[in-house]
Amino acid sequence: MAQAPDKSLGDKLQSLNKTTLFAILFAVTSIPLFFPGMKVPNKPEESTIDLYATLMQLPENSTVLVASDWTDSTRGESGGQFEALFRIMMRRHLKAAIYTTADPQAPQVARDNIASLNEERVAAGQKPYERWNDYVVLGFFPNAEGTAVSIGTNVATAFKGRKDIAPNGISTDVYQSPVLKDIKSTKDLKLVVVLTASSTSTVTIERLSGKVPLAMLVTGVMGPETQVYYSSGQLLGLSKGLKGVYDLETMMEDGVKDYKGAPIPGFPNEKNLGRGSVYYPTLHFALALLIIAVIVGNVGMAMSRRKGQ
């Protein structure tokens, strides 16, 4: 029986088996687990700086309509974005009306995340972000298109019939809450933020663009398609994926030195670093490995070709 010729180095480099690659990825992405608190240098993207500046420049006690269109499947990115967004909103005393058109589970996921942020605030001796007074959860609206049209036409009637629990324990019309009582028309909304892992971003852009100020926080995969709307000026700010979360956390920690000629402060001496700072080193190492793997494969291919010639 003829023996197979030994593989050259080039052939070996371009045909690493799956198990080896998987083992290396597992090892590399585990590195940050052994160095908790590892801080990777960062340069925030322009779109995320715009988002941060927009949130920081809203007048205190303004009402922001938040579409929380994510659940557990994208919690690595969306969960971090939600935490960063609400940390900023809580500290800036912005009020939130939260709704979803993506998933029936999303309202409870939002409530749970606010509850854990509140635990953090209480532990730090700060006032919790109160349901009804600071935020209301409007619930799930299965028809994204119809709901977006309704918000764009008149937000003062779009959520009629929805109730949340007032401090007296009675389920009360959300329009009587401090969050929505001054919202008489769509123009009264200072900002609509869409935090999404699905196509609700496109649905919102198509129906609300030009009617309300819009900003978005989307997953990394959705970044390129949503970037189009940021470039065209339809979005005031945009955070994309885990890098976007890390950008927001970096700015919350250090502020922005120069934004159109003026500095924007951060929140020194507060807990700013969250999931973005924890997960970003892992992404960093995974990307480095991906690049190295691609280079190794190409070097192997070049070596094999040269040998063949």
């Binding site: 371009q14 690493l16 799956k18 690659l21 998987f22 990825l25 992405t29 990777v40 240098p41 960062n42 340069k43 557990d72 499947s73 994208t74 919690r75 690595g76 589970q105 409870q108 409530r111 509140n118 349901r131 009804w132 609206f141 299965p142 028809n143 119809g146 709901t147 049209v149 309704s150 036409t153 008149n154 009637t157 779009a158 009629k160 019939g161 109730k163 629990i165 324990g169 389920s171 390129p224 398609e225 970037q227 189009v228 470039s231 890098k243 970003y280 992404l283 960093h284 995974a286 480095a288 490995l289 991906l290 690049i291 793997a293 691609v294 190794v296 494969g297 190409n298 291919m301 070049a302």
Partner: protein
Amino acid sequence: MDFLAQALPDNFWRHQNGSSTLWLWTFIGLVVGIALIFGLMNMPSQMRRPVVVGVTFLSGLFYVLLYFWPAPVARDPGTLPTDLVDKVGFWIEDAVPSVAQFSNILTAFLLGLGIYSVLRIHSRKLIKQQQDWAFSAVLLVCMVLMVIFGYWNWANRISPTGPLLDLQSNWKFQNYAADLLFDGLFQQMNGAMFSIIAFYILSAAYRAFRVRSIEATILLAAALIMMLSLMGSVASFWDGAAGHVSENLTLTSISTWLRDNLQTSSLRSIDFGIGIGALAMGLRLWLSLEKTGAGS
């Protein structure tokens, strides 16, 4: 028109939360809705088609009118319409929230249909002990458990004492059970499934990203620049070094240029094509020119 005015305290379309009238109408609505669906399903196709075509046209017509009919400008709550055009404009604007509610309720029925379909398919598989019936049993048990504890937990949270449940110390058995099922099991399994993607992306990128042609080289170079720009340490180092020579040579500038000029324009052209396609398909569906699905 009162029947569209959901803002009024009590009317045909709106009753006090938790009142017996509300529960009665909810029950009647559910029964009528289910009866309508089954009625449509069992209707002879020659009768079903005109019904579906008519309802589709009227539903679509509302949103077409909303976009094209002159909308009231700077309308205050007390403003009265001056002419017929104004009257129709006011009527359309007032109807939007109610139509949105109708569309939300109709879409919610799809969830019910989905549950019915899952139950029917997997129950049959289980009863007849067809191949892989054990998986169907697991699915049905999980679904029933999630529905029971999910609703129990939800009912607690919308009750007057609901806000107290934001603190874990106030939880009861049902809240712990819902948390275990959703956060403890479902969420972790979902996370595990998604993390597997990283392994396949690495394997696929290693094998597919090869410099075999000019096009592949351009794609590879662009991908490498974009990936490097996402790595904060590389971007900081590169920008620091190249920034002294020219601002245009920084990694941030190069990746921004790629994104704004190549990526965005390509995606816009794709979006434009999709938009035209969706417009044509929307028109065909609205006018029931699409033969499949319109009750045929």
